[in-house]
């Protein structure tokens, strides 16, 4: 991991020194255990701030549409897929971005680690080869990184960036071809009443902070449907019907575009299972329209095109 970080720093320094980019968007060390933080480096002398580890949980592609300078960006597999999305949707010109691709081992799910520790506070965390060592008042545990991978990383089938100008680090093995949507299938199999109860409970926790939306690289609408007042599509309260409808409509809006980076899920302060909805849409898009988002610059957006033999058994 450390040599990847060094390679990122070297690349960033070179790009900035040569004037090929104005800014490099990467990660710097976080201020809390298991955290890192997005950072914007503009000075070639300042690139030592950059880090790379399994806590680099944000999707940096999110910043690209609003950065006006020419930007280098540290992109793991999902960030790269989002960049493909932004390019396809005309939100970004290819010349304006220099992609420093980083094959990704997956990102740790800090909530899962917190749950494992049942409320005990982590004071220090140290990432090893296969384990992460966490310490706190009166405890020290080594946890398997594999076990605490974020769910989106466990489902990931393209950890190696699909687009890059330079690749830093060696390609990693991709996830196996086993049932990619087992999680969705399992949930679909539950009785409707149970699913309904689940979503109502989940969205009851939502506080409408919009961290999920704002963390998403593809939620770039100038005015989000939820902020539109003429007409007002949905209520603005935290009543579960309002929050559930917000999450349903958001899932529909990112359907066919969502690359399941999991940034929305990790951003949610209340642990709402946002991915439960976006995953379902991802699976449907693949099943119905044979499209996987973020994999190719040549394919049109699935909801901006059609095929004569699209499913229509639901139409009378």
């Amino acid at each position: 991991m450390t040599d990847v970080a060094q390679a990122i720093r070297d690349t960033a320094r070179r790009l900035l020194a040569d004037g090929r980019v104005d800014v490099v968007i990467g990660f710097e060390a976080g201020t809390l255990p298991l955290r890192s933080s997005p950072c914007f480096v503009r000075d070639a002398g300042d690139t030592d701030r950059l880090v790379w580890n399994m806590t680099c949980e944000n999707n940096l592609a999110r910043y690209l549409p609003r950065v006006e300078e020419k930007a280098g960006i540290v992109a793991k597999g999902c960030d790269a897929r989002s960049i493909v999305g932004l390019l396809t949707e005309g939100r970004l010109e290819r010349e304006r971005v220099y992609v420093i691709g980083v094959p990704c081992q997956g990102i740790l799910d800090r909530r899962s680690i917190e749950r494992r520790l049942a409320g005990k506070e982590i004071v220090q965390a140290q990432e090893g080869e296969t384990e992460v060592l966490v310490r706190g008042e009166g405890f020290e545990v080594a946890l398997s990184k594999e076990e605490h991978l974020h769910a989106s990383c466990r489902a990931c089938r393209s950890r190696n960036p699909v687009i890059y100008d330079t690749l830093v680090g060696d390609p990693v093995a991709e996830g196996d071809g086993a049932d990619e949507y087992a999680d969705v299938r399992e949930f679909e199999a539950k009785p409707a009443a149970e699913r309904w109860a689940y979503f109502l409970a989940q969205t009851s926790r939502c506080i409408r902070c919009y961290a999920c939306r704002n963390a998403c690289p593809l939620c770039y609408c100038r005015t989000c449907f939820t902020d539109v007042t003429q007409p007002q599509w949905l209520g603005r309260t935290t009543d579960p019907t309002d929050t559930l409808v917000f999450h349903i409509a958001r899932a529909l809006h990112v359907a066919g575009r969502c690359v399941d980076c999991g940034a929305c899920d990790r951003a949610c302060p209340l642990g709402v299972d946002v991915r439960k909805l976006t995953r379902k849409m991802e699976k449907d898009v693949e099943k119905f329209f044979h499209h996987k988002a973020g994999m190719s610059l040549d394919e049109p957006l699935p909801l901006a095109t059609y095929s004569l033999d699209d499913p229509e058994d639901f139409v009378q």
Binding site: G30, T31, L32, P33, R35, S36, S37, P38, C39, F40, N58, R62, Y63, E114, R115, A118, G119, E121, V123, E137, R205, I207, R208, C209, Y210, A211, R213, N214, A215, D227, G235, R236, T237, T238, D239, R266, A267, P269, L270, G271
Partner: protein, 346 residues
Amino acid sequence: MTPLRVPKQQVAGLLTALLDQYQVIAPVEEEGLVTFGRLGSPEEAVLDYRNARVSPKGLLFPQAEVLLTYNLASERAELQEAPQQQERQVVFGIRPCDARSFVLLDRVFEGNAWHDGYYLSRRRNTTVVALACPRPGLACFCASVGGGPFSTEGSDLLLTDLGQEYLLEVVTDKGAALTEAWSEYGEAGEDSLRRKAELQQGAEAALAGRVEIDGIDRRLKGMWDDVFWERLHEKCLGCGVCTYLCPTCHCFDIVDEGSDRQGQRLRLWDSCMFPLFTRQASGHNPRPTGKERWRQRLMHKFCYSVDSYGEVGCVGCGRCVVNCPVNLDLRHVLNEICSDRTHQGT
């Protein structure tokens, strides 16, 4: 009044007694997440917690509340004021930082010429039993912003966990009234008081110097055009996590829900971090970017609040620090403002 000692095995009895007379709000756990919820039975209370993810401000200032209902459909057009809370509630086991946040909210909603009855009626009917904080969290900095892990500001009673028992101290008359019926608890001895003092000392030592904000209001006054603001917000997502989880943020919006004939008017939390917060119908926005919005958030809490109330509008609970999706750490921002290298001029 002499402090009392409440053996831990008697806490359930105490809560049961409270539940007979009051609505009791306490930390409860749901799917590993501690929140403040209405207690059904004593065993639901989780008192060995650090702090709840969401602050208790919603207990006095709910995220969505009805102000009035309107009915223009009937023959006589009518407005009906939403009933203000009459039920007495005990907020049990919140941390001193959160209890102190109530004092800061009081100042806003007490207003001058106008008073906010919705908030104030809840506040009047609320008794706060705080739980001292012997082991402050990593991101806590209450002691740096005028509070402390054993502060009693905003509390009516203060409990301290001494291991086998709680030390119970009366802070206000309201708190004393609550304890009147509690004859079964003995007076705390010297030992208990000494133990508390030790815990307090330890906690305060742990918090010492975490954030240094001496004179921050004066510094901020000179920083309106500082380049500091240009980059500060760069990584910010512009979401409402910091403000919605904050126990002292009080900004709100007023909206109608219903048709033009029948419906209700609601008050909803709003956030200075949202672009629409200040955007006028004409399209003009005095705070058009994250730069102005971050400046407003910091100025409001650490400068304007000092001007208006003599204190910063932050209790150092650390929620915005822990939960920021991009780890934009307020403690570091404050330290930077107060460090001399920040001021690079305009």
